[in-house]
């Protein structure tokens, strides 16, 4: 397998289940899957995102990405409420493959401020985690 630590955006945080997290200007967060995750899944044919307004718990499954060979759960990195989901994925799920950190975002979540802050990895820590996992 190729070295997976290449182009991890430094402004994002990461999870060990291969989601990325971007903090937006209004302090809500945007969530997607990493380039490593989309590469491991292969060509996506379907993405199921939660309804806007749904309450999410950190670590609980909140979306499904399906490729021609597998369907995998996406886990919410935080406690919060869904404020937006990427409608473009309904017809063009391949955006997740093509642009995992930008147009291929999955959902935006208003973070529950009363919950303890999630333990997320920075780019360097996620790169080390990937290196360990692939070894």
């Amino acid at each position: 397998m190729s070295e997976p630590t290449g182009d991890l955006p430094k402004d994002l945080k990461y999870t060990k289940s291969h989601e990325w997290v971007r903090t937006l200007a209004d302090s809500s967060i945007e969530v997607g899957i990493t380039d490593h995750a989309q590469g491991a899944l292969g060509d996506l044919v379907f993405v199921e995102v939660p309804e806007v307004g749904r309450t999410l718990s950190a670590g609980a499954a909140c979306a499904v990405v399906e490729s021609v060979k597998a369907a995998s759960d996406i886990y919410s990195p935080v406690d919060g409420r869904v404020v937006a989901s990427n409608a473009a994925l309904a017809t063009t799920p391949e955006l997740v493959n093509q642009a995992p950190y930008t147009e291929g975002w999955l959902i935006r979540i208003a973070v529950d401020a009363s919950a303890p802050p999630p333990a997320l990895l920075d780019a360097a820590a996620y790169a080390r985690y990937l290196a360990e996992e692939t070894n």
């Binding site: 379907f46 199921e48 309804e51 490729s67 021609v68 060979k69 597998a70 369907a71 759960d73």
Partner: protein, 451 residues
């Protein structure tokens, strides 16, 4: 020939390759208290001659009664080619082969079956079948809960006029997955589910409303009004239908003023499968393309191979157990290959016109039967609503002894409803299909009059 064709030497060779001493060691992760001991209830082996004789005697004990019993399984004429073709070696397999490289014929039969079920129900996508009509309803309810994203309730509204066995099976399967079923009553005069009884449920969160057409009493529901009501409440509409009746009734895909039923399921047995001690039958399920990823079971798709030639293959398998494991849509990951093959041949032979003729003849025979029986003193029709090929009659005395007396005279007179529907009194559910002649109906009436 032994069922498992490995010799003792084969087994020893395989075990030595993987470094295991015995076959039992392969199962050592199962706690010993969960393992059964000897199968004490299973009698010893019989020879082919002995088992053949035993089965002949048991079959003869059934006799060849004249049957007016329906209630979910129906006696229809099965043209001889149906099973002559279905039992050819190419189809008659102990298991359904799904491997696209080796099974184009089998896969095409399933694809044709799915296409026919879509046409019959007016829906966009069909699975390759489920175990039977009752388990298909259970799966339809689970599908509805997954598919209805405007609902957070794991609750399903079911009419009391639904086949009670279907509800029991749905509760047994889906109840374990925390689905709750609430029953709505039927109109005592018409025998169908009026909108009025649904009013108390307006504004409450249910994932779906189930409608059976015709219902368990053989009465036709006002499916358009029920479908529109369910959709106005944000519920999906699950249709449970008799496929023969669809030869003359509007397909569920066109129920109501909007997009029609959302999920359609039912028992496929009437389509060329004989009444053989309750099974094997098959369940069917169709839905809209937008819900395909919530539908359980196998789906065969038509595609092009690498040389651009058309071919058939399983598709959308990521929903299924062998890929998605415990998060699969269902733990049922198979289909009823043989009975589906028979149904596909049956529908091919009859065509739309033939199916309509079977349905029309069954309807006419049931009217004749009801007229003949209600001409007797003490027998009357219970419901006034229009029906299909079954009807509820009431007798002036308990039904069970009457049915027993009829059985002694070689007639299966119908189903005694007094246990499941005590409010209907001495009620009897009768059925006549195209298989019943004027003489058969006259014999039933004459015999009933004598008892």
């Amino acid at each position: 020939m032994p069922f498992v064709p490995h010799t003792t030497e084969d087994v020893a060779a395989m075990l030595s390759v993987i470094g295991v001493d015995s076959v039992e060691d392969l199962f050592d992760e199962i706690p010993s208290e969960l393992k059964t001991g000897a199968l004490a209830q299973i009698p010893g082996a019989l020879s082919e001659m002995e088992i053949g004789r035993l089965m002949s005697e048991r079959a003869a004990a059934d006799g060849r009664p004249l049957s007016f019993l329906g209630a979910g399984a129906y006696e229809h004429h099965i043209p001889a080619p149906v099973w002559a073709i279905a039992t050819r070696g190419e189809f008659y397999s102990a298991y359904t082969p799904y491997q696209a490289e080796a099974s184009q014929g089998t896969l095409q039969v399933i694809y044709e079956y799915q296409s026919m079920m879509c046409a019959l129900t007016g829906m966009e996508v069909s699975n390759a079948s489920l175990y039977d009509g009752a388990s298909a309803l259970a799966e339809a309810c689970l599908t509805a809960v997954r598919a209805n994203r405007s609902s957070t309730a794991r609750k399903i509204l079911v009419p009391r006029a639904l086949n009670p066995t279907y509800l029991k099976v749905a509760e047994a399967i889906a109840g374990k997955q925390n689905l709750v079923f609430e029953s709505v009553d039927f109109d005592r005069a018409q025998g169908r589910t009026p909108i009025d009884v649904l009013r108390p449920y307006e504004g409450r969160d249910f994932a779906a409303l189930v409608v059976q057409q015709p219902n368990f009493f053989g009465v036709l529901e006002d499916v358009d009004a029920l479908t529109d009501w369910a959709h106005a409440q944000g519920m999906l509409l699950i249709a449970v239908v008799n496929p023969i009746a669809l030869g003359i009734l509007k397909p569920p895909g066109r129920w109501g003023s909007g997009k029609g039923a959302d999920i359609v399921c039912g028992e496929g047995q009437p389509l060329g499968v004989p009444l053989s001690s309750g099974g094997p039958y098959f369940g069917f399920m169709t839905t809209r393309m937008s819900y395909v990823r919530q539908m359980p079971g196998r789906i065969v798709g038509r595609t092009l191979d690498s040389d651009g030639r058309p071919g058939f293959t399983l598709t959308l398998q990521a929903r299924e157990q062998h890929i998605r494991r415990s998060k699969a849509n269902s733990n049922i990951c198979t289909n009823q290959g043989l009975t589906v093959t028979a149904a596909t041949i049956y529908l091919s032979l009859l065509g739309a016109e033939g199916l309509a003729r079977v349905a029309t003849a069954s309807l006419a025979r049931t009217r004749d039967l009801v007229a003949a029986l209600t001409g007797l003193r003490g027998v009357r029709a219970v419901f006034s609503g229009p029906g299909f090929h079954e009807a509820v009659l009431s007798l002036d005395r308990p039904v069970a002894p009457v049915l027993a007396a009829l059985a002694q005279r070689g007639i299966l007179g119908g189903l005694d409803l007094s246990e499941q529907f005590p409010e209907l009194g001495h009620a009897l559910l009768v059925c006549a299909t195209e298989t019943k002649t004027d003489d058969d109906i006259a014999r039933y009436a004459r015999t009933l009059a004598e008892i």
